[in-house]
């Protein structure tokens, strides 16, 4: 049997998964993303979203008018670095 063709490395989504989504009636990019999970990993689609959009069109899906919504932070950030962003403590009423 042929090996998988991975189209989204971060979430291990295969070309077969994309085609399966289209066959089930998910024809737009956002729905295919939600069904397969492509573009939802580390890179938030930086590597794969254009490829997946092209494959979706080739599989008979809709040509996208807009991309998926990448979620920030767009680069892994340690929580310790975000912890420092906490707003200054409000006056707790102490003298």
């Amino acid at each position: 049997m042929a090996d998988k063709i991975i189209v989204c490395r971060c979430e291990d989504v295969s070309a077969h998964d994309l085609e399966e989504a289209v066959n089930r009636g998910y024809r737009d990019l956002e729905s295919v993303k939600r069904f397969t999970g492509f573009g939802t990993g580390w890179c938030q689609g930086k590597q794969c979203v254009a490829l997946c959009a092209r494959l979706l069109v080739a599989a008979g899906g809709e040509a996208p008018t807009q991309p998926i919504t990448p979620r920030p932070p767009f680069h892994p950030v340690p929580l310790a670095h975000l912890a420092g962003l906490a707003p200054k403590r409000v006056d707790e009423g102490k003298p």
């Binding site: 971060c10 979430e11 938030q44 930086k46 490829l51 494959l55 920030p72 950030v77 420092g84």
Partner: protein, 442 residues
């Protein structure tokens, strides 16, 4: 042969990688040091535990995530090497080379449909969830408690995101026109694609440059103009009027009246069997290794066409590596190998017009995929993004990069500019426009 250094490094530090000592040049990316030591297999994928290595060396993929000094999921392609750093493979049982969890890949040859898997029986489903949580995974929590890092707050009239040709030009021009300008660049060095392109380019005055020389020149001009340049600062999100950036040891919050996105392109991907094997990487990634003095392979198969492919091939030949190809995207059947690429299978049409699959031994496959503009940050700031049939592109005015959202500009390759001369001309106009708007209080 795995990648190796072209010349002996001048001054080295020692990394402890899964218990082995590996030499590195102080400050070079950890993933580059590992490649120079012959190691491209750095990680395993989350679901099927397939072997993974860096595909981009530019923080755009999953191939270099490791545990560094007790903190998981660190992008080692952006982590400067320091003496005594402890680097560990994460999310494996065994080692990166022989991960027992890779059995998952064999159990699910057709892929996994989570939506309906083990859903018929509640108890079975609960048991499988536990197993799945152990198998899938992205490392463990830090081994020690981390103190909240300090936050730096920066203010400027103009914030430029991206220190490639477009960003440097826009920043320098805005600063020369009197604006206070902050520029964030996520890599250690300025220049973006120019920094790693091993060939000649032509600027907007029709002058030919060695790409790296032009990168140096643009960086010098920005700093002479008084731009506050911050390398190793990755912008990670836009929150109202503030942009959050991440440096190796702390976070930075930048407030500015005008945002200029000059984020360039992500290298993109191709779909073929084995495209996710370690040793299969973008042409820019291979050029990045060369830029760091590391020969990416002894026998390199090149897939795709364009300046990057021809310049990479020439640079490899000049260093006495062998080059096979270039091959067209649709001629590629599959990349073969277990822990790393060993061969590329390509289709050839013989004299009788029949397709014949030929197996070519190689230790690296470098592909040129259609570049994918880095629209993520600009879109979050409100710039419109369209699909041009190949990739998503930020829509902005071709003359000065103005996007529909107020105060937001996008210039250069992220806005679909294809060549350097056009990029520089647009970025120059963008810099002037933002500076004039700030000056006039618009």
């Amino acid at each position: 042969m795995p990648p190796r250094r072209l010349v002996a490094p001048p001054q080295t530090v020692t990394l402890r990688v899964d218990g082995h000592e590996i030499p590195a040049i102080a400050g070079e990316p950890v993933a580059v040091a590992l490649a120079a030591a012959g190691r491209l297999l750095l990680a395993r994928s989350v679901k099927y535990h397939r072997p993974r290595g860096p595909a981009c060396f530019a923080a755009r993929c999953d191939g270099c995530l490791m545990r560094v000094d007790g903190t998981g999921n660190v992008m080692t392609c952006r982590t400067p090497a320091r003496e005594g750093m402890r680097i560990e493979t994460q999310n494996v049982i065994g080692s990166a080379d022989t991960d027992l969890l890779a059995a998952t890949d064999w159990f699910f040859p057709g892929g996994m449909n989570h939506h309906e898997m083990f859903t018929a029986n509640k108890l079975l489903n609960r048991a499988m969830q536990k197993v799945a949580r152990r198998i899938a995974g992205i490392g463990e929590l830090p081994s020690h408690e981390l103190a909240a890092a300090p936050v730096r707050d920066l203010f400027g009239d103009v914030l430029v995101i991206g220190g490639g040709a477009a960003g440097l030009m826009a920043a320098a021009e805005a600063a020369r026109a009197g604006a206070s300008v902050v520029l964030l660049e996520e890599a250690a060095e300025l220049g973006g694609a120019l920094r790693v392109f091993p060939g000649a380019v032509i600027d907007d005055a029709g002058r030919a440059w060695n790409a790296v020389t032009l990168a140096d020149e643009l960086a010098d001009e920005a700093s002479r103009a008084g731009v506050r340049v911050l390398t190793h600062h990755a912008a990670v999100g836009v929150y109202g009027a503030e942009v959050l950036a991440h440096a190796p040891d702390y976070a930075v919050r930048v407030s500015a009246q005008r945002l200029v996105f000059a984020t360039g392109t992500n290298e993109g991907a191709l779909a073929f069997e084995g495209a996710d094997l370690p040793g299969v990487m973008g042409v820019r990634a291979a050029c990045t290794l060369l830029r760091h003095g590391v020969l990416p392979g002894e026998r390199v198969a090149i897939v795709g066409e364009g300046d990057w492919c021809t310049s990479l091939a020439a640079a490899l030949l000049a260093r006495r590596a062998e080059v096979v190809g270039p091959f067209a995207h649709d001629a590629v059947k599959r990349a073969r190998g277990r822990a790393g690429v060993r061969a590329l299978e390509v289709a050839r049409i013989d004299a009788e017009g029949n397709e014949r699959v030929e197996r070519l031994d190689c230790d690296l496959v470098a592909y040129a995929a259609p570049p994918s503009p880095a629209y993520e940050l600009a879109e979050q700031a409100g710039a419109p993004v369209r699909f041009d049939g190949v990739a998503f592109v930020v829509t902005s005015d071709s003359r000065d990069g103005r996007a529909a959202a107020s105060g937001v500009f996008a210039t250069g390759a992220c806005a679909g500019m294809q060549d350097l001369a056009a990029t520089l001309a647009q970025a120059r106009a963008a810099g002037r426009t933002v500076a004039a708007e700030v000056r006039d209080g618009r």
